[in-house]
């Protein structure tokens, strides 16, 4: 029996159509929920931000196999960069006037600015940090994350003018993160991570995780790829930060404490380090669950940490292991199963079809 293989354009079309359907469903859901719609919109936006944070951390944590503990620092840098940029534009006036279309270019620039600034920080931190491994990398990134927070808190006194507004907070940021905006950028981020990993660069990153010495022996420039993955991850965290700033409207350095980095890490670990689907699912569940079960919120962090320990003890590979979902492959499997069912008499045929 010849196995059905979907061609690349078909796969892309299927995924695009499904994405549009998902968007339509979410929009319909929010707009038909009446008064509660606003509340659901908020949860959905937070889910989107957390998906970007978790999947971007997964690049370094799951795919590269390192454990950075300063992801919140990159989110913070992106948030402040995007917020300060947006405040300098007429976006607020335009939004107040209801002219959402005119804000789009500013949003795109703000997201790019955040990504670039966070990427630069990622490079500055990654180059020294990635010379170390394991616990040392964890502690050095933790240190950098804390330094970023201390700097954001105190930089104004050094500069002599108001820049981040320190602990009192950067307020009146234009609230540009709508459901559409978050949806588009979440999809873009997921797509970028996917295509990065499915390339020679992604393979190189994975090979470093699996065996760094062997990767060097086949000519992989490990320093370059470690830094590239780290910077890529930081850039996406910056995007998440920017969208967060545009949702919440005011920023405080204390939001981006070590605790925030751990929260993101929990999402990645529970989902399964190295599985994008796992990160997405656990970002959704861990954001929605405490919201839907309000009385649970006191116990949230206790449950998180308990879940982390139990997961390591009983299922160290996380919910999904390193399994990564592919719509195309799933459809292929379904088609092949149906056809396999029809031609069951044909069992003599065992030869595997080579994929080309």
């Amino acid at each position: 029996m010849k196995k059905t293989k979907l061609s690349t354009p078909v796969r892309y079309t299927i995924n695009t159509v499904l994405t549009i359907i998902l968007w339509a469903l979410l929009t319909l859901f929010v707009s038909s929920s009446g008064l509660k719609g606003e509340y659901y919109r908020g949860i959905l936006i937070t889910i989107g931000i957390n998906i970007i944070l978790a999947t971007s951390l997964n690049v370094v944590c799951g795919y590269l196999g390192q454990l950075p503990l300063g992801h919140a620092g990159f989110m913070a840098v992106g948030a402040y960069a995007g917020a300060i940029f947006m405040k300098s534009t007429p976006a607020a006036t335009l939004l107040r006037a209801g002219n959402h279309a005119a804000v789009i270019p500013y949003i795109i620039i703000a997201v790019l600015v955040s990504a670039v600034v966070a990427g630069i920080f990622g490079l500055l931190i990654g180059i020294p940090a990635l010379r170390l491994k394991g616990d040392y990398l964890a502690i050095i990134t933790l240190g950098f994350g804390e330094i970023i927070r201390v700097v954001l808190t105190n930089i104004d006194s050094v500069l002599g003018f108001k820049f981040t507004y320190g602990a009192s907070g950067l307020a009146r940021i234009p609230k540009f993160t709508s459901l559409n905006v978050i949806f588009v950028f979440t999809v873009i981020c997921l797509f970028l991570i996917h295509v990065f990993m499915k390339s020679r660069h992604g393979r190189a990153v994975l090979s470093i995780r699996d065996n760094e010495i062997a990767a060097e022996s086949v000519g992989i420039n490990t320093t370059f790829y470690k830094t590239a993955a780290f910077v890529f991850s930081a850039m996406l965290a910056g995007v998440a930060g920017c969208l967060y700033a545009g949702y919440i409207g005011s920023l405080y350095p204390s939001t981006f404490k070590f605790m925030k980095s751990i929260e993101i890490l929990v999402m990645v670990v529970l989902g399964g380090m190295g599985s994008m689907l796992g990160s997405v699912i656990s970002a959704i569940v861990l954001t929605a669950l405490p919201e839907l079960l309000r009385s649970f919120s006191d116990y949230r962090m206790v449950v998180y940490s308990l879940a982390l320990v139990l997961m390591m003890l009983f299922r160290p590979k996380g919910l999904m292991g390193t399994y990564d979902f592919s719509m195309g492959n799933t459809i292929e499997k379904i088609i092949n199963r149906i056809r396999g069912g029809r031609s069951k008499a044909d069992t003599a045929e065992t030869g595997k079809e080579v994929k080309g």
Binding site: P128, V151, V302, S305
Partner: protein, 293 residues
């Protein structure tokens, strides 16, 4: 800044530094033996501090009893954590073990928030009074803290280098497999390392409380991280290293604060850590390790 003020700040630094050093010893010993950055170590101090607080403020027990209680509970907690969370993962990848340690740390912190409440608990100072050395005013707390930690470090050095148990600990940290073949009980030795480390954390918690007179669920987190920095700075796995590292961090913080940058204290500590890790990753007194190909 006058000279006497500088001396006063230095003594302050040495006082905080000795607490860091005691805690750093726990990190260093555990890391030396199972190569684990025990994130939960700092939170054991927090639990110890609450024990002292409740024993004295709520049950009006004599301080000596409170101190023994704090050390006892810390030790028990440390060993329990090791048995429940770390032992099953002894052959797991290091990353899993590290994540578990982070999980335990947050479990203790958030558990404490539920049990003890999120607010700070303040109590009367354990030791009062001070003495003048020339024109420098030194509190008894500072003297007791520094002296106690110096005595403990000498004791610890003696235990590790001169006793049979210490020899077992050194053997296990050198080569776990070989030590086992020589008839050393791995479980017992590792538990003992955790017990000693946690007992030191218990003493640290008392000294911390003597200096700052307050306990909060998150107090262990930053204290723990800084103590770890101290351990790395001194060279992880080395007892005198932990001591030197602790004092260095304590004095550094005091000097940065004295120069009028107290808001930048944490950043300065981490900056020093980063510089040290980059130029001498093994710290002042550490040994070099390389993966076998």
């Amino acid at each position: 800044m006058t000279f006497s003020l500088l001396i006063a700040q230095l003594i302050n630094g040495l006082q905080t530094g000795s607490v860091y050093a005691l805690v750093a010893l726990g990190y260093s010993m555990v890391y030396g033996i199972i190569k684990l950055l025990n994130f939960a170590h700092g939170d054991i101090i927090m639990v110890g501090a609450y024990m002292v607080y409740y024993a004295i403020a709520s049950f009006a027990l004599p301080p000596v009893v409170a101190i023994i209680l704090a050390i006892g509970v810390s030790t028990l907690l440390g060993v329990t954590v090791e048995k429940v969370a770390y032992t099953p993962l002894r052959s797991a990848p290091r990353l899993s073990l590290l994540i578990t340690a982070i999980g335990v740390s947050f479990l203790l912190e958030n558990g404490a928030q539920l049990v003890f409440g999120a607010d700070q608990k303040s109590m009367d100072p354990l030791i009062t009074g001070s003495v003048m050395f020339g024109r420098v005013n030194v509190s008894y707390t500072a003297i007791v803290t520094i002296v106690v930690s110096l005595i403990i470090m000498v004791l610890l050095w003696f235990v590790v280098n001169k006793t049979k148990a210490g020899k077992a600990m050194r053997a296990v940290s050198e080569d776990m497999g070989a030590a086992q073949l020589m008839g050393i009980s791995l479980n017992r030795t590792i538990s003992m390392t955790f017990a000693i480390g946690s007992a030191l954390a218990g003493i640290g918690s008392v000294l911390y409380l003597a200096a700052y007179t307050q306990a909060s669920p998150t107090m262990g987190s930053m204290l723990g991280i800084k103590a770890f920095v101290a351990a790395v700075l001194g060279g992880i796995g080395s007892i005198p290293g932990a001591m030197i590292g602790g004092f260095t961090i304590g004095v550094l913080e005091a000097l940065v604060a004295a120069a009028g940058f107290s808001m930048w204290k944490d950043a300065a500590v981490f900056l020093v850590l980063i510089i040290v890790l980059l130029f001498k990753p093994t710290g002042f007194l550490g040994k070099k390790m390389q993966e076998k190909v």
